[in-house]
Symmetry: D2
Subunit: 184 residues, 4 copies
């Protein structure tokens, strides 16, 4: 079983990206993986903005990333790309902080017109950080993310569920392959 | 004469991007333009991170952008793209905050290997914000930015000066053309 | 009045991109511009593929580009980007073949999920060729392009028309501004 | 052992991309893999340009791709992106022609200024074709590719060799992991 960190890049307290991560994390937990959550919004703004890695909460977030075999990153698409909040966190990590890790990139957006932001904007950044394997990602259109309250269960509806399931399965396969290598 | 806002996207107090902007701003001032400066680093971290546009300093920065005919944006290249700090500011602006404006994108980086980040990463974001004209941009390699002290004069050396001069000239021509339209 | 070249990048004889260009060209002609058409598909395959610029039809196409003040380029989106056919033609042009020119990038595709291909894939290529001004582009979803026969009149329907009209207007304004500069 | 197809996207008979592929293929053959070569330049221009998949040589090239577990793609960087010739071939393949395959993207170029073309231009296209794993790629600067004659041995010199070796190793590891899965 793998150790997985989910990373939410939304600057909003109530965010569809975070709900999407909850949904994916529940599936990954059922599959036996150990899950940790990171909301970048919960990190202290000042050290995050100034790249101050001496702050203990910033250091702790990096340590949690270090421990993870796999990372699920979700961001809303703002202005045709990932959020600045997500990028601010990636910026203060070491250049090769994703080395050896398997990464699943997810996005949320108002329409499918944002779909290519994952592969043209976020993926090159993740590659530059040395990720072992950035698997196929997926954009879930906002209206397909339903929730029964702030802390409630999230449901992915409509056309989005098969696509999401497919990339989560691909992520799990990639993690399993990597585990084989590690134990070999 | 045009009203120009320079925007520095570096998270560091001493930054080559900011020095590069000083150099460009001095040239633009000599050409008769009125210049204002914005260091995103000087904006309050908490409201910037949370997208809180009710903060007066955040609102003031947007007002300064509104007044500008032209914008010069400079960012270091981190992880193959613009900084998260710069994107955090762009994220909290209205979707079409660059409508009607002429934009010169500049970058700094350790080597020419980062050159395409301007056109592949930053330019699509600026286009999505409705910019009238994002002129040809330029990446200045760090070692070509020399300064005689924190508040001193910045010199652009070596092979970087002709390329920089060319894009600044292109920016001035685009501003002048737009001024003709406005006065017609 | 400006001299405009329309460039169709579809590898298919019957293509929505070509029909879209016909529609735009008709509007530009009404506005008084002189229009020439280039279908890359009509260029000889062998010299195009091998970059043989000594072929007279290849040389003629380049001469027509040279004469143009403005270029309207339309491509279907294949595999998340412009067609190889279009790029093959761009590849055999001089590096700065678009210098001094105003360019309107258009695309067609099965759904809005392809929208960002224009700004993330085609635009960086056009910038690298020294274009003076690549104005805001637009993707027209296939089902909004209607035609009453192979040589018939093309109609742009539904939500696509306002967006298309807006970018064509922006292209005309950019051409007019450039004409002012040239005559000044 | 895996079945690997090398794909050369250069439109030139004598190309550094093809030589780079020869070098990589020799290493992969020593490691026990079975190698096939495809120079897109050798495919018939007319059917390639028109997307005519009924041509037997076009069909044969697709069949060779189908048989491959891994694909090494090399392209010179022209106008900030892959060649049109390479894209023309990718365009006429089925949308998910890379499904289940491991892909190593390589590029050649006059300077490191082209480096990001791999991740920002080629990688999104490969992802859109359903590739199982597009491993970290590498750009080799032209001057580091030396050859003792048209059919001679190719040497990768200078700073390029460690980087190239690293991505070839990563490709082999990814292939091996996939083989484990297939045999499990």
């Amino acid at each position: 079983m793998s150790h997985i960190l989910t990373v939410s890049g939304s600057p909003r307290q109530q965010s569809r990206s975070a709900k999407l991560l909850d949904h994916v994390a529940a599936d990954l937990a059922v599959a036996g993986h150990r899950i940790e959550h990171l909301r970048i919004l919960d990190l202290p703004a000042e050290p995050l903005q100034h790249g101050d890695v001496s702050d203990p909460r910033i250091a702790d977030a990096e340590a949690r990333l270090d421990r993870a075999d796999g990372v699920v990153i979700a961001t809303p698409v703002y202005k045709a790309a990932y959020t600045g909040l997500l990028k601010s966190w990636l910026d203060l990590l070491p250049q090769y902080a994703l080395q050896g890790k398997t990464v699943l990139p997810l996005a949320t957006g108002g329409s499918m017109a944002h779909a290519l932001a994952l592969d043209y904007a976020l993926r090159p950044v993740l590659q530059s950080m040395g990720a072992r394997h950035v698997v196929q990602g997926f954009l879930v259109v906002d209206r397909f993310i339903e929730s029964d309250g702030p802390d409630g269960v999230t449901t992915i509806t409509g056309d989005a569920l098969p696509g999401l399931t497919e990339v989560v399965d691909g992520f799990c396969r990639a993690l399993a392959q990597d585990a084989v290598r590690l134990s070999a």
